[in-house]
Structures are given as C-alpha cells and as structure tokens.
Amino acid sequence: MRIPTGHRRIAVTGIGLVTPLGHTTADTWSALLAGKSGAGQTRSFDASGFTTTISAEVKDFDPESFVPNHRLLKMASRSHGFALAAAAEALADAGIAPNEATSARWGLSVGAGMLSVAYDDLRVIEKYAVKDGQFDAAGLVSPCFPANPVNFCRWQSNAGLGLLTRQFGIRGYATSVHTACASGGQAVGTALKVMRRGQCDAMLVGGFDSMINPTGISGFCLLGALSTDNDNPTGASRPFDATRNGFVLGEGAGFLVLERWDAAVARGANIYAELAGDGNSLSCYRITDSPPDGNGPIQAIHQALGDARLAPEEIDYINAHGTSTQMNDRSECAAMTDVFGTRVAKGGELRVSSTKSSLGHLIAAAGAVEAAICCLAIRDGVAPVNANYAVPDPDCDVALVTGAPQHGKIRAALSNSLGFGGSNSSLVFRHPEYPEEVSR
C-alpha cells in the first residue's frame, strides 16, 4: 500500500464545552479557575434511594438555544444535545466550518457513551413486555405496545455521529469510539492519526456522555465506584487525597476543531495549541484496575512524548486522569513518577491536577473535555487547581496544584485518560510559540 502523506503539525483552533460548570467554554473555564464545583445533589431524578445521591449535572440546559434545529433535536438524546451544542461552539470559535467545496475533506471523531437505555424507555418495556417479572417478547408485538422508532434510533451506537455529520455537513472520515473513560482521549488521538495520514484537512473531534439517570448510575453504584459522600457533594471528588473514596459522576461534552497547521496560519486563525502527540496502550491487567506499578500508562505517556518529539523535561502541566478512586490514582502516580522522576515529585516544578475534582467524571467525554482544558491552560499560562486535596497519600506524593490555580508559562501539557478495560490514552499539546526545533 502507499502510505498517504499528510501534514505533521496539527493546530487546535476551536473549543466548545458543555459541562457541569457551564454551558460554554468561557463559563466552564472561569468557574474552574474560580475553584467552583459542578457537583451537588442529583436533581434530574429522585436519587434518594441510591447509595450515591450526588452527581455533577449539566444544569438547566436547553440544546435548542445552541442548535436551533428542532427536527434534528427530536432525534437527539441528552448527551447528543450536549455534543451538538459543544460542537457548534467549537466551530464558531474556530471561525471555520465545512462548506460545499471543503466538506469531503472534513472529518469527525467522537468518543460516545455506551448503550444504556433511558429509564423511561425501559419503563415502557416493563409495562407492556414483562410477564412474571421476566421480559416477555410477546409484549413488544401486542397491539397496544407504543413502539417508538425515534427512541430506537437514538440509542444506536453511532446515532450521535450521524446527527453531528448532518448538522455540520461533514462528509469525510467519521468514526465513533468507546473505550470507557479513555474514549474522549482516544477520539482525539484517532483524529490526529487521520489528519497526519492526510485523510482530512480539518476535523471536529470530541466526546459526549450522560449517565446521570437511574439505569446509568446504577451500574456504577453496584460496582461501588462512586463516592458516597452524599452530605458533602462539592468535596466528594478529591483525587490523590488519602481519604478519596470514589468518583463523582458527571456529564457533558467537549469538542475541538483541528486544522492543518499551515492552513490555520494562512487564514490567520487563533491557534490555542498544537496537538503534538498521541500515545495509546492496553494495560492487560484487570478490567477495573490499572496496575499499581503504572505498567500500561507508562507506555502510553512515553509514546505520546515520542510522537510529539518532546522530552519529559519539556512538559510543564499534566491534566491527570485522577478519578479519585484508590487504585486509579495510585497507578497513575506510579506512572507519572516513572516517566517524570523528581520533576513530578512533591515540590517539583511540574504542575499536576485532576480537574475531575471540580467537574466530576464525564466518562466518555472526559478525555475530550480535559484535552480542551489543556489547550486553555496553555493559552492562559495557568494550571487549574486539584480541588479538595487535604490529606497526603504517600502513594500519590506528586506535584499537585492545590489551593489556587498556578500561573506560569506552559510549554507543553499532557492529558491522561485511563479507561475501564485497560485502555490508556495520553495526549500532548504544545504551546503554539514553543518551536519544535528547540526540542530536538
């Protein structure tokens, strides 16, 4: 085969965010820097009977005010609404969008949440197709069963992809990935590869998820993965703190616009950062846990640095996966220590934070939202805080940003996403004015 040759340097020129901290990038970023928390008592349904009653919800969100397309939104689930709004913001921010001449060269890569049928849809099944407490297929073809093909289509694995390509007229490469909590990071990494191969000139890339509903949250409650600090929602997510006891489930979407560097420069685009490197490994250890010695995440970080042609010494900020579970945070610290040594030890010059401490865990959207946060951190020269950190854990003694955001130029930033199932994604973003020649 002939390896297609694309363009090595890829620019991030647009960002869109819908998160528990705000419906836009500006609102999310300012709330994050102000130390606000997106967590609270769950409002969208009565969660009082569940072991965890708290979550980080996107509040008072109306997708139609961001994407005035009533017909399309009828097909959209809650997470699709987040995705459409965040993607629209990212394209508007970039000041470029697919048109008739360019649409076939525009691509889309998304990390999408897993199929979990809405509680209300499941209630319909329960009402018409349950006999003696068991599912009874005959109920589906009874004359009174209110079959709803629109709901069915909405839960297809790539429904969000189809709505996004339609809304924005993207006619090139389009893919949807799901590696649990690593999905968003892997979607961004996939886009980098597609663009470097020259299969697209520009791409919309992101992640979206919403599992804050009775069936979605049940899976995590059953596993015991969520913090049960129901009386302290804003302090419940405390990555790397010795008393951490699980994550806070969030929801939302994050999108980036990627362009060929030369094309972005030529049109005078605002370039947040260069998407410089992608690393990707499989831990092959356990389904929920990352290995205590960091074997797996270590390879992903090294690959991302190598792909970006950067030395570990050139990374100034790490947006950690930092879920606030015992095992994840320990494994990730072992990996960071292995790669970055004394620079990442407590008091070292590297700055580390998990913004899940403020945003909660956005699951399939997390990696994309955190990629966007790395770009904003580079733009403003500020590392967001690792909130709620109080009690040191000897296994997590890393250079955390605590108390207040820390200012100072960020030459390059690393974003880690480590998923259930063992997929690890690391992304490296480089400051647009930090030249590649300096590094190697």
Partner: protein, 426 residues
C-alpha cells in the same frame, strides 16, 4: 520506522457466524448456496413479522474454554474472543512469541496493537433491571434501595462495549495501540483499516483486528421491521422483490503484519491490505444519498489510496444487505465509480445474515478466501435483478474474478461508507 510503500499482509483469520465457525465451513456454504437463515426459537414468533435469523448455535463452552469468564461477559464478547484467538493462533504469532526471551516478549507485547469493532451493547442487557422495576412498581427511591438485591454488582462490567479488547488483551497480553470502534456497521472494517495503518505507519509491529456483534434480539427485530429494513425470509440482495435484511450474529478477526516479518517465520499469507476510505453522506441517522454519491466517493478514494485503477479490481464484495434503499444506492454508487466496466459483484448476507457490527470483517475473511479459491460465490436468492440497476454483474451462481484484487463495501447508519481494497494471496 515506516517505509513509503510497505506491504501489509493478513497472516491469520478467524470467524464465527450462523454459517459456521471456520473459514472452510462457511466457504462450503457459500459455494453450495445453502443459507443458514432458518426459523428461530429464541422467543415465541407468533405475531412477529420476521420469524427467521442466522443464529450461532455454539455454547459458551464451545466459544471460550475458561468457564469463569462466562458469567463476567456478554455473548457477543465470547464470539469476539473466539474469533480473535482463532486468528492469533493460526497466524503463528503466538508460537513466535514463545521462542523469545523475557525482555523480547515485553517489547513484542508492547508493539502488538489490537483494534476492535464492537456492536456497542444490546438492548436485552438492560432487561436485567426489569425485575427490579416490576417489584418496586417503578418507585425510584425503592428502585435505588433494592438495586443490589436484584442486579449483579458486575452488571456494568458484563456489558462494557470494550470487553473484547480488555479480555483478549489480558489473556494474550496485547499491550500496544488499541481502540474499540462503536460505529454500527462500519466498526469492524474500520478496525481492520486502523490496524493496517497502525502497522504501516510504525505505530505497532503487528496488530489484531476483530469485529463482533449480536444484533439478533427482540427490539432490534421489532424496530428494523417497523423501519422497513427487515425481511421475513432469506435476504435477496439486488433482487427486484427484495424486502429487507435478516439478522445474523458472530465475529471475525484478522492478524495484520509486515510481509517481511511474516515471510521471515514462514507464515501463511492470506492476502494484502492495499487501501481504504471512510466517507460520510451527512444525511442523518437513517437517510441515504439517493444517487449513491457517498458509495462512489468512498470507492474512488480507496482506489486512489491503493494506487490502482477501477479496471484492476477483480471482484466486489458488496454490502448488499437486501434493503430496498441501501442496495439501490449502493449499486448506483458502484456504477458511478466503475463506469461501464464493473467486475463481478457479490455479497454474503444471504448466507449468514447481517452481523451489523461484525458484518464487514466476516465479509473480509470470506473475500480473502474467495480470492484464494479464484471463485466469486453467487447470490443464490437472486431471481430477477432490480430493473433500476440493470445491467449489473451479479449472478445467482459462482463466477470467476477478473483479477486477484477485491473491493469490499460496508455501509452503516449515520450515512457512512467504508471501502477496503485487498489483494489475494494467489
């Protein structure tokens, strides 16, 4: 490490579907014209418009020897593990690894990629909550309180879309670049393409690509039928009277390496990956370009990446799912791309149904076998060709390919078209 024109080859394959659990078994079906679509007994089909499917009849023990795993994963995952391990085993890479020292084994594992196309989950898995909903009369606080008494703590882990990635990874220590693509019918062929490109660009030294899905379940049958996509009998792709597709289930897998690595250990080379394209029609979840523009654009781009012309293509394995709209627009797209000189066209869904997330990769495994045999299997359910596409080179009986290069088309919800170009071993 990447070279300008690498030769990326397939060195092992595996599959399981209604038509069989080995290439030889499924090939025998394709040549004999005997479908595996039959009346099913998964549930009582009285009042159902569709009473047939192409089911996999193997038991969990047939699929995965480790019985401890049976309770912790879904049926689709078992099929994915089965096909993956079949491909790994018959590629000879596992035997190669056994001969290495510890440091070399670590490097080997870190440089072995694994890309999976997954159906993404089933509606049925959510029915595990129905008993609890029933008992608590849909009272949410009670639902929350009683949750742990009705649903297994492992529910989420049993139903992760990326379970095949995780479990084959753990069993076989494939630690390199990876992805789980949940892109409906496009997932498994994109997995092949991304695995091939990972090897070609030096991201991995070798990579396994797997696709798996079990779309045959009540809600899928109900809604595909309501949407006019499902037939009541064996699919009749490109036939004037075709009325829809029929569900199958299963998995396929291929091992992908550099030709020189495969040759160095004397591996059996099944074929070569030449190129691919993925294009969107931007038409929404269900709609299709009426004139097949997306299909033709994908074909043209894939041929360009492969560096060959339309005249070099020896056969086409079409998506041919048997639905009125998809077959029509696919045929129009093929005609646009190939002009007056279309090679023999076939499709295999009449034999093992539509495997949705696994459809493309099982078609690929069988296309490689067709090239090896030098035979294009026919579509025995074809009676009268759709008038709107005639003439069109499909046949009810086997024909000969005009070269050992095949083009494979895979179409998905979301207006997606993926085309692979592969060369046979012979």
């Amino acid at each position: 490490m990447s070279k300008a024109n690498p030769s990326i080859v397939f060195t092992g394959s595996g599959l399981v579907c209604g038509a069989g659990s080995s290439v030889a078994e499924v090939w025998a079906r394709l040549i004999s014209g005997e479908t595996s679509v039959t009346a099913h007994e998964r549930w009582d089909t009285a009042n159902w418009g569709t009473k047939v499917a192409a089911e996999v009849t193997l038991t969990p023990r047939d699929l995965v020897s480790d019985r401890k795993l049976h309770k912790s994963i879904a049926r689709t995952d078992m099929m994915g593990i089965y096909a993956s391990e079949q491909a790994l085993e018959n590629s000879g890479v596992l035997a190669q690894r056994e001969g290495l020292g510890e440091a070399e084994v670590n490097a080997f594992n870190d440089r072995t990629g694994f890309i999976v196309g997954s159906g993404g989950g089933t509606y049925t898995s959510n029915y595990d909550y129905l008993g609890l909903m029933h008992e608590t009369a849909c009272d949410l606080p009670a639902f929350g309180r009683e949750l742990a008494n009705y649903v297994t703590p492992m529910w989420l882990l049993q139903n992760l879309p990326n379970n095949v990635l995780c479990h084959v990874g753990i069993r076989q220590q494939l630690k390199g670049t990876n992805a789980c693509i949940t892109n409906q019918c496009a997932g498994s062929v994109l997995a092949v393409a991304e695995a091939a490109l990972a090897v070609a660009t030096g991201e991995a030294d070798r990579a396994l690509a797997t696709g798996h899905d079990t779309p045959f379940e009540p809600e899928m049958v109900l809604y595909y039928h309501k949407l006019g996509l499902l037939s009541d009998a064996t699919p009749r792709p490109f036939d004037q009277s075709r009325s829809g597709t029929i569900f199958g289930e299963g998995a396929g897998a291929v091992m992908i390496e550099h030709r020189e690595d495969a040759a160095a250990r004397g591996a059996n080379i099944l074929g070569e990956f030449l190129g691919f394209a993925c294009v969107s029609e931007a038409t929404g979840i269900l709609d299709l370009d009426a004139d097949g523009e997306g299909v033709s654009r994908a074909i043209t781009e894939a041929l360009a990446q492969a560096g060959i012309g339309a005249a070099d293509v020896g056969m086409i394995c079409a998506h041919g799912n048997g639905t009125p709209a998809s077959d029509l627009t696919e045929a129009l797209g093929i005609k646009r791309a190939f002009g007056g000189s279309i090679p023999p066209v076939t499709g295999f869904k009449w034999a093992y149904g539509h495997l949705i997330g696994a459809a493309g990769i099982v078609d690929l495994v069988m296309t490689l076998e067709a090239l090896r045999q030098g035979i294009v299997p026919g579509i025995p359910t074809l009676g009268e060709l759709d008038h709107r596409i005639a003439p069109f080179p499909v046949s009810a009986t086997p024909t000969a390919p005009r070269s050992n290069i095949a083009l494979l088309i895979c179409r998905a919800f979301g207006g997606l078209n993926v085309v692979l170009v592969v060369k046979g071993a012979s």
